[in-house]
Symmetry: C2
Subunit: 256 residues, 2 copies
């Protein structure tokens, strides 16, 4: 079906990718913004190379952190293989932010005045398979007797609209704050500046994946945001991921 | 995938149905509002039996007309098997009218304050498969050397918000009016009161299917609206369908 949409072709591969598919724990790491890759059909969306590799295209470092967490917690990792510039899988189809015309300071010409056919094609090619697969994996884990725990992993830019951000790690939640509360409690003595629902929160529409897959089903969940200057090299990734793995483990022990 | 959504189960069958699948012409009849059927998972949406069988749930008579046109024109017929109260397949996911909280005089309690998980599940279960299949069939016809012509078939209620409607048949179009113009020209000497973009038009968001499948591809297209009191019995259906088949045939001859 996706081939006909014209967004992805056979040589582009699937929109969704799995790592650690035989993971033994119920932890599910989710990375909606793992990649800056554009499918060839998208061209450059009218953007400069600088914009195409910036934080508006992806969350630099997020997949590396999520991969490390997947190993440390023996959890499944589900990630989107294409850039959020085509479709931001952490936004529902009805949101203007799903295929944004503007992101921070960048206009995105290739997303201007999209008609319903193009919006449908992108939704069918990128959003539906991603969330269908995630839902299927969660169901599979439950069928195997595991209790799924949904952890979405993001990074944010240290400077936004010219303003530096002081927070280093954000622990975000929507209506269900159980896991976030426990992680925030465990973070009190740590080396990082950790804050609740920061640098943005559920009121900004960023908890879509949690609202889709965790909250209606009553599954423990959290959204993690890491300032991307902390994970620019492998030492930084290792340090942050070890710290987060420890926070999550402690939080899950408390909740158990 | 759809089974997991919880909207449709295996015993409900597919969302989309085809008739005259080996049709020899390029005409594709589309009926988004063919059925008042609710999947068992939907319950009664909080509606009375009267509302559940009214025009807010479906277009009474539309499938009968479309079936007759399919035979007369040797065209493929694609129809949605479930009520538009669950998902109106002539509306994109981002439209409030896709899962309306209110339709004419009826509040729809089961559609109130839908969360993203429910909106996603309905979109994945009903909208995506319907339009994916329609797109696939159009591509198949083109591959067979045919020139697809998209004809969507609807009916409308003779009394809306207490006000009678005089128009009997509406010939609706969006940006591409070629086929509609030719049908309107051919309708001048006929027995029915036929009007352009009436009782509503593209400004009311009713041309979604045309905008998805016909206009970007340059395919000839039209949306037909029949006042449903004209097709309450088989004689009425036969009369209207014969008349419309004649209009379409004449219009296609002129355009050829």
């Amino acid at each position: 079906m996706l081939l006909r949409s014209g967004i992805l072709t056979a040589s582009d591969g699937e929109a969704v990718a799995l790592e650690n598919a035989t993971a033994a724990s119920g932890v599910v790491l989710v990375c909606e913004h793992a990649s800056s890759l554009l499918p060839p059909s998208a061209g450059d969306l009218g953007l400069s190379p600088e914009a195409l590799s910036s934080h508006i295209a992806w969350d630099p470092g997020a997949l590396a952190i999520a991969g490390r967490l997947s190993t440390a917690l023996d959890g499944l990792l589900v990630h989107q293989r294409f850039s959020r510039l085509i479709y931001d899988c952490n936004r529902p189809p009805e949101s203007p932010a799903a295929m944004p015309e503007k992101s921070e300071i960048y206009e995105i010409p290739g997303n201007r005045d999209l008609g319903p056919a193009e919006r449908y094609a992108r939704t069918a090619a990128l959003y539906i398979p991603f969330h269908d697969r995630l839902a299927a994996e969660i169901t599979r884990l439950q069928g195997a007797g595991l209790q799924p725990v949904i952890v979405t992993v993001h990074t944010f830019t240290p400077v936004y609209f010219g303003k530096p951000r002081e927070v280093e790690i954000g622990i975000l939640h929507d209506a269900d704050s159980r896991l976030a509360d426990a992680m925030l409690e465990a973070s009190k003595s740590g080396p990082y500046r950790v804050e609740r629902n920061s640098p943005y929160g559920p009121e900004d529409g960023v908890t879509h994946t949690l609202r889709l897959h965790a909250i209606p089903q009553g599954l423990a969940n959290v959204m993690i945001e890491v300032r991307n200057d902390l994970v620019r090299d492998s030492a930084g990734v290792e340090a942050v991921a070890s710290y987060l793995a420890d926070l999550i483990s402690k939080a899950l022990e408390r909740a158990a």
